[in-house]
């Protein structure tokens, strides 16, 4: 076999056993031959390296694109999150409608236990006028009379009814202030103040506030207990 063929077969790893003997002999005895083998062996390694580097560059290019696809994906994720937040906002909004619904279902101005109004009666004192208006659901007039009454004599019970009127007139914040003020002292109206305060919180969509009050009410009183438990379940 000629030297070139020997070297070519050596490099392509296709030397027969017989040729291998010839090759080894030449490597040991022919320095020009050995030099040529080393050169071509190195050339093969260099070309392989060149190929690797070229492919590596291509792959790195793909990777860069993957990353830009990824950042596009990230952008999509961000957009999706934004949309979901929008939905949860909608849900939240819905949720506030739910508390509103719970409020409406459960709110009923506390019945008049202060001033019995008898039909056909023509009493003209402020208290009777106030509770007449209250019972006939003329809440604007009732509010006016309750304010007059409270000017004359601050009274927690009258304030409690005034707060009920305020709830009915959608002046929830003002009502809350009164219930809270009433709760600073302990009396027989406590449970009722709590109940209406909880409803006011519901109205304000303060679920945590409402739950806190309802839980307190659940453990301290049997007033409206069925409703209290129902609301607690709904709010959980």
């Amino acid at each position: 076999m000629n030297k070139d063929k020997l070297i070519a077969n050596y490099i392509s790893k296709t030397l027969s056993l017989e040729a291998k003997t010839e090759f080894d002999h030449l490597m040991a005895t022919d320095s020009e031959f050995a030099k040529e083998v080393t050169f071509l062996y190195n050339l093969k390694a260099v070309i392989e390296k060149e190929e690797h580097e070229a492919v590596k560059l291509e792959l790195q290019g793909f990777e860069a694109k993957e990353n830009s696809v990824l950042s596009y994906r990230n952008w999509l994720v961000a957009a999706t999150v934004a949309v979901l937040l929008g939905f949860s906002g909608f849900w939240y909004f819905n949720n506030s409608i739910d508390t509103e619904k719970l409020y409406v279902e459960n709110f009923e101005p506390y019945r008049n236990v202060v001033q019995p109004i008898l039909r056909g009666e023509t009493k003209t004192d402020l208290k009777t006028k106030a509770f007449t208006a209250y019972e006939t659901r003329d809440y604007t007039e009732a509010l006016h009379y309750f304010n007059e009454l409270l000017k004359e004599n601050p009274d927690e019970t009258i304030a409690f009814y005034k707060a009920n009127v305020l709830l009915k007139l959608n002046k929830t914040e003002e009502a809350v202030l009164i219930f809270k003020n009433n709760l600073k002292t302990t009396d027989s109206l406590n449970a009722k103040n709590n109940w209406y305060l909880a409803l006011a919180y519901l109205r304000l969509n303060d679920i945590e506030g409402a739950k806190e009050i309802l839980n307190e009410l659940d453990t301290s009183s049997l007033f409206k207990n069925k409703e209290v438990k129902y609301l607690l379940k709904k709010l959980d």
């Binding site: 392509s12 050169f39 071509l40 390694a45 070309i47 392989e48 690797h52 590596k56 990777e63 993957e66």
Partner: protein
Amino acid sequence: MTDNAVIEALKNRDQNALKQIYSNNRLAFISFAKKYPITEEDVIDIYQDAIIALRDNAVNGTIDNLKSELKTYLFSIGKYMIYNKVKQQKKMHLVEDSSRFINDEGSLNFNINTNALTNEQKQLQAAFKTLGQKCKAVLTLFYYRGFNLEEIMKELNYTNKDVVKSQKSRCIKSLKTMIFKR
């Protein structure tokens, strides 16, 4: 594209095939590599090297009659490379030896050449880079792809083998002139 078609395309460094195989297996490989203590940057680097090694094995004919899926083959190369990387980092004490590590998916045969070039080879590489496109093409087909003169003639549209042969000789001569002139 079937595995065989991909292997053929890889031999020809078909960019679409390369891209396809890169994208199709990338995420699976990254998640596969998560159980090993190497950074994602290293994982990507290894993944690319594994594909390069896959191509080497496609080119030299090792996987012409591949018994397993190409993906399995690629992953076993990658796994072997990860193993070497981890061993380098010495972050993990591996009880199993490397032969078991690579053979647990069946005896897949692959050659990996990630050896750094010697100084002598680096000089030769610098010289090779200065060659014209024709020389690079002929020498690459001959020494990397393993084409014979006739195949090169067809591939590069030469009129006859002898032209290829003299072209190849001229290229080698100019390389030798460049590195042996000192």
